[in-house]
Amino acid sequence: MKFVKNNIVPIAIFLLTVIAFYYSEMSLNYLSAEVYTRFIRNMLFTLALILPVTCGMGINFAIIVGAISAQMAVVFALDLNLTGILALLFVVGVSAMLSVMFGFLVALLLNKARGNEMIVSIMIGQLSSVIYQFIFMVAYGTVIHPLNTDILLERGIGVRSMLDAKNISEVFEKILPFKFEGKTYTLFPVLIILVFSLILFYLQRAKIGVLAKAVGSNLSHANTLGIKSNRVRSICIIISTVFAAMSQIILIGDFGTINVYTGHLGLDTFAAAAILVGGASIKEARMRNCFVGVILFHALFITSPMAGQNLFNNPSVGEYFRSFLAYGVIVIAIIMNLRKEKMEKERILRETLK
């Protein structure tokens, strides 16, 4: 019973998914294939949220910034006409560099907005997203002159909205491919996700993990004990941003094309919803929350439009339902967390009175 109580959110979502799956009349194979694709495209994003949650900053909606750095790196690679493994290495290198830099800036802002980190991270995500759009839509062709003019729109200003990212997807396809239901998938992204999971596993047990937990547990105590909390928080945000960048590279590599202006949007909400669906709170998140959450959330995400179609003769109902779920779970998580904190405070108060 305690298990149910502690895991009420994942269990509820699991039941919903089973119901939606039943009514969607999909085959289990189809669902698995779809979930697999969405899993490799979103998993790292979700893992990227863990450290900021641990150090008490809540959900870092600014992981979009990481995705942006990866998109930029891919466009640069296309501009330089790089191909094959070289392109992939270039993209990884450049996006890592950019994401460390951007992550540092994000951390700078978030450290100034203590207590409001989540909403500020939303605004940072929005702002950087439009600045990024501005650069590629307006500056390209006017201020910046690309070597490869094929990436520009016909009017000569602005990058095309869809670009072929074959140069890195080729590399992806060649490594560990397997066939399922007549389509070819590859195991390479899973490999990368595994590597990054191990890195995160290590980091949680490294000094940064311990300090992050301490800072997240009680910021003012951390400061009295001389822990450099701003530094700890910054490192967490930077790691989070780098993870997001790597995730976006997997997404682009798997997808084969890059949506220059919209490819990075919405990923933050999905990641946030997934980690919360997996049973995390805005104060505590584990890796298993991510794995469970990503699979559950995306399974529901895939099945609900079809279920809506079959139940109400209207596919959009399912779509609305899933976006309600994505946002609603965040509201519920915040409410539950604050209730918990309130109870905790009252408990301490009672204890001190005795």
Partner: protein, 347 residues
């Protein structure tokens, strides 16, 4: 009202507007047209921005969950259009039905926010976000009889955009227009805006208004003085929600289109940004802040459109607008946290 300093956002926006204005004149835009449009845009968005005031002043933060009130206004209009009410009947019945729904929704919205003091803004954002899909499901199933509002095919669910021209489109815009040469001053519309503003200003001078600002300043003191803080917060939040419903009706009649579904999705950010530009703080906003801010915000956007078109990059106007919106809100969060130190001390 004494130390009226111009804050950086205001300064930046004013300079930005000036630059745009010069460029606009250089590219031979008609100044009269611009002024006409600016006045309309001002009043069209002004009421929505005014709706932020009660919640800010009662200390419940900037209403990022405005979608709740906006949806109520949209429902009011769906109600009026469904009954084929036209002209003023349509307009006022929209407002009446909308504010009724808004009052109910606002009450529940307040219930949620009162549990989450100090976190209203982030919670509001997501309450607003998650309320929109709920409304979308409603729009899909609502039994509407006016066929003009339904999808042409299938006949189930409202259209995303319903044309209001044959109902009450521009009814307020066209009221008491004064024409001076090429200039057209929509006096009725402006009076509606100013009237709402004056009512809000008068409200702030009443005892309830005084209690509002007292709660924002020192909630614990008010609590000790035997005044139910949650009651007043509820009043403030309901007021904001109802005013948002008002605002969207004014907005829609001006726009001429009833924009359902994801229409209200991104409307709170520009409104918040506008009031910040006007100089409103986290806990204190005046009618002047709202009106001045809206004017600056909307006019710069308006001016940037022809400039962007002249540069052959029409998308630029929207991009610049979003940069301004999120940049200003970011500024507000990062530089307006001076009271923070006080909290730490207390602990």
């Amino acid at each position: 009202m004494k130390n009226k300093k111009i804050n950086p956002p205001q300064l930046i926006m004013a300079v930005y507007m000036l630059v745009l204005l010069i460029v606009t004149v250089m590219i031979d835009m008609n100044l009269a047209d611009i002024i006409n449009d600016a006045l309309i845009k001002w009043a069209m968005n002004g009421v929505i921005v005014l709706s932020l005031i009660p919640m800010i002043n009662v200390g419940a933060g900037r209403n990022f969950g405005m979608a709740v009130g906006l949806s109520a206004g949209l429902l009011g209009m769906v109600f009026a259009v469904n009954l084929r009410f036209t002209s003023w009947t349509g307009f006022f019945s929209s407002i009446a039905a909308g504010s009724l729904i808004a009052a109910v929704l606002g009450f529940f919205y307040a219930k949620i926010l009162n549990q989450l003091k100090m976190n209203e803004e982030i919670v509001g954002t997501f309450v607003g976000y998650s309320f929109i899909p709920i409304m979308n499901i409603f729009y899909t199933f609502v039994p509407v009889t006016n066929r003009q509002m339904l999808y042409p095919i299938g006949g189930q669910g409202l259209r995303p955009k319903v044309n209001l021209d044959i109902y009450f489109g521009q009814v307020l815009d066209n009221l008491w227009q004064i024409k001076i040469g090429k200039l057209v001053i929509p006096l009725g519309l402006l009076l509606f805006l100013w009237g709402t503003g004056i009512l809000l200003w008068a409200f702030s001078k009443t005892r309830t208004g005084m209690v509002f600002s007292a709660i924002a300043e020192n909630e614990r003191f008010v609590q000790i003085s035997g005044i139910s803080v949650n009651k007043y917060r509820t009043i403030g939040i309901v007021m904001s929600t109802v005013l948002a419903a008002f605002g969207v009706v004014v907005y829609s009649q001006s726009y001429g289109i009833l924009h359902l579904y994801d229409g209200p999705f991104m409307m709170s950010f520009p409104a918040v940004s506008a009031i910040v530009i006007g100089g409103a703080g986290k806990k204190k906003a005046t009618v002047v802040n709202a009106l001045a801010g809206t004017f600056l915000y909307q006019t710069t956007y308006l001016l940037s459109i022809p400039v962007a078109n002249a540069l052959l990059i029409p998308e630029m106007a929207e991009i610049l607008r979003t940069i301004v919106t999120s940049g200003i809100i970011l500024y507000a969060f990062i530089f307006e946290r001076k009271d923070k130190r006080h909290e730490v001390r207390e602990k």
